[in-house]
Amino acid sequence: MSFNLAFYSALFGVLGLVGIALIGLGAHLQLVFGVIIPYVAVILFFVGMIRRVVIWGKCPVPFRIPTTSGQQMTSLPWVKRTLADKIESPSNNWWAALRVATEVLFFRSLFRNLKVNLTKDGPKISYFSSKWLWLGAIAFHYSFLVVLLRHLRFFTQPVPGFVHLLDQIDGFLEVGLPQVQISGFLLLIAVTYLLIRRIVVPQVRYISLPADYFPLFLIIGIALSGILMRYWFKVDVVAVKKLTLSLVHLHPKIPQEGIGWIFYVHLFLVCVLFAYFPFSKLVHMAGIFLSPTRNLPNNSRAVRHINPWNPVVKVHTYEEYEEEFREKMVEAGLPVEKPLEEKE
């Protein structure tokens, strides 16, 4: 796949989506874009994710194959194991769970790329690109999470305390009106970084598909429309909340007072992301929990792992072996089960 095809098909795909939303509004399809599509998207998201996880879950794990990145547990008590060893060569399910947690919360394996090395020009950090990748990934995922949680205030009444708290922390800069919340901008910066990285690092560009660019453009579109909506093209927030709450309470109602067009663009892109999620690489969110090289303990010699489809196989038995070589074995002085038959 050429870069142009991959890049532009994704870009125009997202621009096309924006176009669809605008055309839809022009045709007064608020009901479709404000009610029907969100419901469909949410249903697709949950049904799709559950289906995906069920498919994975039904798939057996025939072998216990953790990638061991630390000293194994051993019966030699004097062999030292650091905390890192215990996590990365987990001796039981608890440690394995902790290992998965370090992956999910801190992107441990990605962080591993960051390494200070002593070169002859003094200490240097190698794997520059990967260090930034870790930082970019962390910034992206966490800011996305914060943004997502902040949005809970549109779906709850009364708004839970932690959402307020989050709002406060997020707005710590205390500038602007409405107050600037850092997470949205961080999200936009991080996702833009990830996009640029994909374009300028040739190794990564070489491997990239439309399916890699599309979600990035989509999220850029979502973040951008969200920021524009909050700070520039202001929309009637009270009306928005009316709509979202009505959706939550399953009594969908498009508010009489009009909500700005930008809101519907934003909402539509979010819906596409939700609907697209389970059918794309974005499922890695759930997949990481099931990854057999990370979520299994390194104790295969102590606890037997059962393969549910352990095949019955034909083996070459000792009897067959001795039958073939008996004469030679006896000649070499090796003991045999069945004595050599007397030659006639």
Binding site: V61, K281, R301, V315
Partner: protein, 548 residues
């Protein structure tokens, strides 16, 4: 040799930048030296594997069955349903590129398709095309592509250019293990009879004779007798060679690479000397087996079923001989199988006892299920308990570094035990740079069945990162021997180091142990050791040996 370029091409190439298209549109060229020979019909026949014919990878026609495509796709579907790893790894890769520069074949050779992500993508594109909705609908846009004859060949080329070392898996944020994907790719290739002969032949041999080389029982005993005689010349001790003995405490299984070619044989001799010493001094009883005369398992590079079929002999023989537990020699992929697969394949081994070192009393609880202990664990335990008199200075002619073999490192977590043993038996030990050892160790470039001589170019490429780190300690500390616990390492490092770092040898840990081990006669001062196991003079005895 690569085909000669036409003069016109040469002129056009004057800007020296390589032509490059999108990866889906480029095809590999089967250049001699970069792939192994195809499997022979007779070897497929022994195990009754599919499509038995002599296979020549460089030929246009691979003599596949007419329905090869269905076989491949059905095989793929079957595996997607049987291995969560496979399906998950097909689904969740986000192509972040963190693994891109972790493969030794990419680092040394520079072929971008050796980036692990792309190696996976070769199969993933097929997965998307035939098993996902998005791929069926959007085709190429979703990264899907048709399975054609050319694509099949491309997949083949690259699944046999992966040494299943798992280095990339350490760095992947989702733990995607290219080794697992390669294994699946190879299983699929084997459905079509497209194995390497360097894998297929050892598998066939091992099935029939019990070892990869196809050595028959009388051959094995005579090889061991030969080693015994050489060892006697150096140590004055004639070691016991118990074979197929019922009622011994321990069954000892080593990789056949240890008793067949230098420098593996020195490791074998070292193990023989150690075991004999333990027998004389502490009454340990042990036996080798001619039936289970192979620790390694090239079935692992074929399919899980074949691996199971070959592995079955270990427990079967232990049961027949009535031993208490099994001791395993120094071997890499053997320990991947023993540690992560054996109990699942052929367990439970309830006819054996939880391994207990009869000399120190240590119970190897961590091996209570498989009942198999690594000889380095065993030796480390003996040394810790002061059961072995050791004279470190006998290894003073060696300046040692340790290569973490991929499988014990990333498939077992075996880091401290071998280091403890090495440090206990020699004075000069230096680690290679931190980012090339332990879980980040670089492969020798010849693992997973890629160590055949005709594959020399690929091996040299893949071994460059490792050799380069060796060169560093060679120049900085004067390291002259690379110690490792893998038979494939010991077979592949001599040519590799010969090419990249002349002046560095390769050895196993138990060669060094045996050098340092002070035998009873030596302890009593009746005899003096002047040579190492290779017959080279020990430090301080250079003149003496010359005079002899």
């Amino acid at each position: 040799m690569a085909k000669l370029p036409k003069p016109k091409e040469l002129v056009e190439e004057i800007d020296y930048t390589p032509p490059e298209g999108p990866w889906m549109e480029t095809r590999p060229e089967f250049k001699p030296g970069t792939y192994g020979y195809g499997v022979k019909a007779k070897n497929l026949k022994v195990l009754g594997l599919p499509n038995q014919r002599d296979f020549y990878p460089s030929e246009e026609d691979w003599q596949l069955p007419d329905n090869w495509k269905e076989i491949f796709l059905e095989g793929m579907e079957d595996r997607l349903n049987r291995f969560r790893s496979f399906r998950l790894f097909m689904d969740i890769c986000v192509r972040c590129g963190a693994c891109a520069d972790k493969c030794h074949y990419f680092i040394g050779g520079g072929d971008p398709k050796n980036m692990p992500v792309l190696r996976g993508e070769l199969l993933r594109s097929i997965y998307k095309r035939y098993f996902t909705t998005s791929g069926k609908v959007f085709g190429k846009l979703a990264g899907a592509r048709d399975l054609t004859y050319d694509v099949l060949k491309e997949i083949w080329y690259y699944v046999y250019q992966c040494s299943e070392c798992r280095r990339c898996s350490v760095f992947c944020p989702y733990g995607i293990d290219t080794c697992e994907i390669t294994m699946m790719g190879r299983e699929l290739m084997n459905l079509l009879g497209c194995n390497l002969n360097w894998i297929g032949e050892p598998v066939a041999n091992c099935y029939r004779t019990g070892n990869h080389l196809g050595i028959e029982p009388q051959g094995i005993t005579s090889i061991f007798e030969f080693l015994r005689d050489e060892l006697e010349e150096i140590t004055g001790v004639k070691v016991d060679l118990p074979f197929n003995q019922k009622g011994a405490d321990i069954l000892v299984i080593v990789p056949s690479g240890s008793y067949f070619a230098d420098p593996g044989t020195y490791t074998m001799s070292g193990e023989l000397l150690l075991l004999h010493y333990l027998k004389e001094k502490y009454g340990l009883t042990y036996t080798f087996s001619t039936y289970a005369s192979e620790g390694g398992n090239f079935g692992l590079f074929t399919s899980n079923e074949v691996a199971k079929r070959l592995n079955a002999k270990m427990y079967a023989e232990a049961k027949r001989l009535g031993v208490k537990w099994i001791l395993g020699g120094e071997c890499g992929h053997m320990w991947r199988v023993v540690h992560q697969y054996m109990a699942t394949f052929n367990g439970p081994a309830d006819f054996l006892e939880v391994p207990r070192n009869p000399i120190t009393g240590t119970v190897f609880e961590h091996a209570k299920e498989t009942k198999m202990v690594h000889i380095c664990e065993f030796t480390a335990d003996l040394i810790k308990h002061g059961k072995l008199p050791l004279d470190k200075s006998r290894n003073d002619h060696w300046v040692v570094t340790f290569h973490d073999s991929c499988n014990p490192a990333r498939g077992m977590g075996f880091f401290e035990e071998p280091r403890y043993v090495i440090k206990s038996v020699c004075n000069n030990f230096y680690e290679m740079p931190e980012n090339t050892i332990r879980e980040k160790t670089f492969c020798c470039g010849s693992g997973a069945g890629l160590g055949s001589d005709e594959n020399i170019i690929t091996r040299m490429r893949g071994g460059l990162p490792r050799a380069n780190a060796v060169k560093y300690v060679h120049e900085k500390y004067g390291v002259n021997v690379l110690c490792c616990i893998c038979a494939i390492d010991r077979a592949s490092f001599p040519p590799l180091l010969d090419y990249w770092v002349p002046g560095v040898d390769c050895c196993g840990i138990h060669e060094l142990v045996a050098n340092a081990l002070v035998l009873p006669d030596e302890e009593r001062g009746v005899r003096k050791r002047t040579k190492d196991l290779r017959g080279n003079p020990l430090k301080g005895y250079e003149d003496l040996v010359e005079e002899e």
